[in-house]
């Protein structure tokens, strides 16, 4: 059998998306810092991280769904509904402590994710169709719930609005929560049976069936997790931006998908890792925050994000093609 050719350190590094992203980030930071030295100040870094915390939570749920060869387009709407619900509860019952609101958000999100998962697993409706439907259903429910009105900052309690900004050991609660979510799901994806089964189902559902993996259960679980994390994100969103509006988080699914794609997650499932997703989120954050520094108007932000997604997808496809070309060459002799 042909041994793999010994490759140089750089080549090896380029094979790992995580390392490529780190390198790219560093390359990107050099001109930015030269132009604006305070970009790398503790304060600014803290701001970027806080900006990206909610996205990283949502992207992790999206990651698990994509890993199982699905996609969750309903994340933005779940955030909106749970965010609105938390805002309205806070408006009416100011005494409910913030962490209870987070749990309420997660509970509602769990139910919404469960609904997605059941439709996909037992209704056999493709994930893209299912969540294309529920993205509208959940957004519609948000309008029904709020009757089209907003919850504004002065209608909410200071303890809720202040919650994400409260610090512990100099780091905001928002960031702590993101860290915990990242750690838990890093562990989940690598050291639990279900985590391993998500990789197996995404990589080869037939082979998974032959070893007794319950495909339906795995599909429900990934959507359930994604929904729950969106619920958490919704509760945090309303507090951080001190308002609950019906249009909140519109199009957020695209950013979540972008973070995954950037992080090297295989779009057809079975390959990818949490570290990549977190780095992908960070990359998006740095680019977004750096735009004003390089005198590019914020109006270009969406354009640049789209460009990044395209480049990342092209890179993924290219490396996949090279891999299969290599395998095909072996086979064709």
């Amino acid at each position: 059998m042909p041994e793999r050719a010994p490759s140089s350190l750089l080549k090896k590094a380029l094979e790992r998306r995580e390392l490529t992203l780190m390198l790219l980030l560093m390359v990107l930071l050099v001109p930015i810092t030269i132009r604006s030295p305070q970009f790398l100040s503790g304060e600014n870094i803290n701001r970027i991280l806080n900006d990206m915390a909610i996205l990283s939570i949502v992207a992790i749920g999206e990651f698990l769904v994509i890993l199982s060869n699905g996609i969750d387009l309903s994340v933005g709407s779940i955030i909106a509904f749970t965010g609105m619900a938390c805002g309205m509860i806070n408006e009416s019952y100011a005494s409910v402590p913030p962490f209870v609101l987070l749990l309420v958000g997660m509970g509602i999100g769990l139910l919404m994710g469960l609904f997605n998962g059941v439709l996909v697993a037992y209704g056999k409706i493709p994930p893209i169709i299912t969540t294309l439907g529920t993205v509208n259903i959940y957004r519609g429910l948000t309008f029904v719930l709020s009757k089209g009105t907003w919850v504004t900052a002065h209608e909410m309690s200071p303890s809720y609005i202040g919650f994400p900004r409260t610090t512990f050991l100099g780091i905001s609660y928002l960031l702590w929560i993101a860290f915990v979510v990242i750690a838990v799901f890093y562990y989940f994806s690598r050291f639990t049976r279900t985590g391993r089964e998500v990789y197996a189902i995404g990589g080869n559902p037939t082979a998974a069936k032959f070893v007794g993996v319950n495909e339906n259960r795995v599909r429900v679980v990934v959507f359930l997790i994604s929904g729950t994390l969106c619920g958490l994100a919704g509760a945090l969103w309303t507090a951080r931006y001190a308002s609950a509006v019906n249009e909140m988080a519109t199009g957020f699914e695209m950013q979540a998908v972008a973070a995954c794609v950037l992080g090297g997650v295989n779009f057809s499932g079975g390959a990818g890792g949490i570290i990549g997703v977190v780095l992908g989120t960070l990359f998006l954050g740095v680019v977004t925050n750096a735009l004003p520094v390089v005198y590019l108007s914020v109006f270009w932000q969406t354009f640049v994000q789209g460009l990044i997604i395209l480049v990342a997808l092209a890179l993924n496809t290219l490396s996949d093609q090279r891999k299969s070309a290599k395998l095909l060459a072996q086979r064709r002799g």
Partner: protein, 505 residues
């Protein structure tokens, strides 16, 4: 005898570790139906893929109408006049018959450059009429029966002005009447001067429709002749006529108690009334040609597919698994036929592939608490199979076929099965790995494991098994003692030329 239309000489195709075709030849003449005969794995499909431009030969020559040809892709082969009618029709179900027939070579109005549907529909009508087919050109292909789809494919070949039409098992999905229709068309193709390469396992068809035959075995050319001047016996001898030149490991059966008993197991449309018993330490061979229903039987025993009728007893208790999970828990392991599609998660590392069936043992309340044990486990079973790789962290897709198969075996031995089912475990792997797999099977049997071995290679089944269950088109045609029967007998039951009492019992 007319001049050859197609002359294949010294054609060789080497895949890593295996010679799929070894210096074969084939001569086809216009106006002739030529049967290509051989067991599974004889190299027939490889030859078809080379003739239709899917594979590039390692060396050798193909001469079409006096000109040496080499195709870079399927379209070049089509343009040269070689068209294959595939086992599974490669058509566009949502498009009409006309659209399917003219796909890739649409007619255009010379002035406006618009697609000329009127002309195309007219031509389709004419072509269908020539074949005496009662099909409306505007029907969507998805609304046609399998047989009619075949006819449309053949019509397409005609519209391409094919010189050589290759039919790979064209009757496998057809009923008796439909086969008659197909033969009528084959005859009319023949009369219009086309050459037809007819690949089939069914001797009655070969004797009905074919003029000449060529036999391949193990990738080698064995012989050819006129069908009218040959007997079934002669052809069967050419197909199998080898001394068992490969050595099989010594296996003295020490039969333990009966572990599995199967009675009249059936699955609609796949197999019917299969009955057998299996003992500890026994190797039961399951032989039959493609489409005999062997894989379906073992998939049902393993719980992947549902039985429509019949009973199973595992260690004396009634047993009807609802899925792999249940049968695995009861001590059954199935190494599936297609290691890439069913056996492995190619994007996963070897470690994760091997530990996948036993994650339950390595975890506590769903958390994989024993990563160290996982590594030790993988190392133990991987090394036992002597997997050659750059390490257990590499993805399964980077391995050669033989080593992938070893990974699949390593993955299953750890489950400590009482019944080990192997579906084509040596298909497409090199000789050294094959020998290792054979040794492995005997070792398992010596430990008291009951083994069911499916193989399309007759010598392998004969050399490895204690008893052989022979199937033909879903029916059990014989249960033979492997030590007392000849290859000839087994093959006769597999193509069912002997009495089919068992089949209709």
């Amino acid at each position: 005898m007319p001049d050859a239309l197609l002359e294949v000489t010294n054609l060789t195709k080497i895949f890593p570790g295996i010679r799929a075709l070894d210096n074969v030849k084939l001569t086809l003449r216009s106006g002739e139906v030529h049967a290509l005969i051989g067991e599974n794995g004889a190299g027939k499909s490889t030859l078809v893929k080379i003739l239709t431009g899917v594979y590039i030969p390692t060396h050798g020559s193909i001469v079409l109408e006096g000109k040496e040809i080499s195709f870079k892709n399927a379209i070049e082969a089509q343009q040269a006049g070689i068209v294959a009618i595939h086992q599974e029709a490669s058509m566009f179900p949502e498009l009409s018959v006309t659209e399917n027939i003219f796909m890739g070579h649409h007619l255009r109005n010379p002035k406006t450059k618009k697609l000329d549907w009127k002309a195309m529909t007219e031509q389709t009508k004419a072509l269908l009429g020539r074949m005496q087919l009662d099909i409306d050109p505007d029907t969507l292909v998805k609304n046609l029966s399998v047989a009619k789809r075949h006819m449309v494919e053949i019509t397409k070949a005609l519209s391409l002005d094919a010189k050589l039409v290759i039919m790979d098992e064209p009757t496998s999905a057809l009923t008796g009447r439909e086969v008659e229709d197909l033969f009528r068309i084959v005859r009319s193709l023949k009369e219009s001067g086309k050459a037809i390469l007819f690949i089939s396992h069914k001797f009655d068809e070969i004797f009905t429709i074919c003029d000449y035959f060529t036999v391949y075995r193990d990738g080698q050319y064995i012989g050819e002749g006129k069908v009218a001047e040959s007997t079934e016996d002669q052809i069967i001898n050419m197909m199998i006529g080898r001394s068992i030149d490969q050595l099989y490991p010594e296996h003295t059966p020490a039969l333990g108690k009966e572990i599995l008993k199967i009675e009249k197991l059936s699955q609609l449309g796949a197999f019917k009334h299969i009955s057998f018993t299996l003992h500890e330490g026994e190797i039961l061979g399951l032989f039959g040609l493609v489409g005999a229903g062997r894989s379906e039987v073992v998939r049902t025993i393993f719980g992947i597919d549902k039985a429509s009728e019949g009973t199973m007893y595992l260690e004396g208790k009634a047993f009807m698994p609802k899925g792999a999970k249940e049968s695995m828990r009861k001590g059954i392991a199935l190494v599936p036929e297609d290691r890439q599609k069913q056996g492995l998660v190619l994007k996963m590392s070897l470690t994760h592939n091997i530990s996948l069936p036993v994650l339950k043992l390595l975890s506590f309340k769903g958390i994989i608490t024993r990563s160290k044990e996982e590594r030790a486990y993988v190392l133990e079973h991987g090394n036992q199979m002597e997997i050659k790789s750059a390490g257990y962290h590499v993805d399964a897709e980077t391995l050669s076929g033989g080593n992938q198969q070893k990974v699949v075996l390593a993955k299953w031995i750890g489950t400590k099965p009482k019944i080990l089912i192997l579906d084509e475990p040596t298909k497409g792997i090199d000789v050294a790995t094959k020998a290792a797999v054979h040794q492995f099977i005997c070792d398992m049997a010596a430990k008291g494991v009951a083994v069911i071995l499916i193989s399309s290679e007759l010598p392998e089944v004969m050399g490895m098994s204690d008893r052989i269950l022979v199937m033909h088109e879903g029916y059990q045609t014989a249960m033979l003692d492997a030590r007392k029967c000849t290859a000839d007998t087994v093959m006769r039951y597999a193509i069912a030329t002997v009495s089919q009492e068992a089949a209709h019992a």
